[in-house]
């Protein structure tokens, strides 16, 4: 991930870990999820810079967009739907948290929030009894040509 993407991801991590959320989890900045699917057990949180795009903004500047993914994973027990509902609510809570704030420590502005539910992937749910939820934050930053 680029230097600016790392800066934004770090700002998101710091903001999340300072927040008062309904579930207790420490978020870490990662390149890939730090635990293998089969090893995930307790609630785990990670922040990954997923993508970066640049488009011409003017003759002198480019507008960069950074997708920062906040991932939440947990192995569920016998009552899959009830546990998954609670975790889905937590993912939505994280999304709602960022609707009213822009992480400090970065001049990039938050412009979009997506909720992704890759639970339809057999590998997560059926093979590993794993709930996975992702909040994708998209930040925009205009950078003048040097």
């Amino acid at each position: 991930m680029s230097a600016m993407a790392r800066t934004i991801a770090a700002a998101v991590v710091a903001d999340l870990n300072a927040a008062t959320l309904s579930q207790s989890v420490v978020f870490e900045r990662e390149y890939v999820p730090r635990e293998a699917l089969e090893s995930v057990s307790d609630l785990a949180g990670g922040v990954i810079a997923a993508a970066e795009r640049a488009r011409l903004d003017s003759r002198a500047a480019w507008a960069h967009e950074y997708d920062i993914d906040i991932g939440v994973q947990k192995k569920f027990g016998s009552d899959a739907n009830t546990e998954s509902d609670a975790l889905a609510d937590f993912v939505e809570e994280i999304a709602d948290y960022f609707k009213t704030r822009n992480p400090s420590g970065t001049s990039a502005r938050l412009t979009a929030i997506d909720l992704l539910w890759p639970n339809g992937v057999d590998e997560h749910r059926t093979s590993y009894k794993l709930f996975t939820g992702v909040v994708r934050l998209t930040f925009r930053l205009v950078r003048t040509n040097s």
Binding site: D57, S58, R59, A61, A63, V142
Partner: protein, 152 residues
């Protein structure tokens, strides 16, 4: 480079000095520059021909461009353009296909009056939209006409 070019490869300037001895100031933060040239026609038809006959009348010329606005940043170019717009100061513009300091750069050069507005879209950059219209201008008692200017 010779050949087809993109809009981003062009250059827009305003003159901060005189027509006779210009100082071209680059408008770097321009977005989507558009030069328009309209022409009126007079009807000179008669029974001589079954076709309607037109004769060219007066030319009109306009220029529009967006300017990417920045908050809290010293921007002398925007400050100058804004002041000229608010004071209705005729301003010579050069809509060039290359840098003014490079010989062979070409484009229309004309005195314009500027006006502007500001768009503030929810999720996109704030843009000041400048609309310019060719106006009469004199220098040393002589009218300065628009021309196709080539830098030397």
């Amino acid at each position: 480079m010779a050949g087809e070019i993109l809009g981003r490869d062009c250059y827009l300037y305003y003159n901060s000095a005189t027509h006779a001895s210009p100082t071209w100031v680059l408008i770097a933060n321009a977005v989507d520059v558009s030069l328009s040239g309209d022409k009126n026609y007079g009807d000179v038809s008669s029974r001589v021909s079954a076709f309607k006959k037109n004769k060219a009348g007066l030319l009109d010329m306009g220029l529009s461009f967006g300017y990417r606005y920045k908050q809290g940043v010293t921007d002398s170019v925007f400050d100058a353009l804004r002041a000229k717009a608010l004071a209705s100061t005729p301003t010579e513009m050069f809509i060039a296909d290359g840098p003014s300091g490079t010989a062979g750069s070409e484009g229309i050069r004309a005195f314009m009056d500027l006006s502007f507005g500001r768009d503030e879209p929810l999720e996109d950059g704030v843009l000041c939209q400048f609309e310019c219209k060719h106006v009469v201008a004199y220098e040393s008692g002589s009218m300065v006409e628009p021309d196709w200017h080539t830098t030397t």
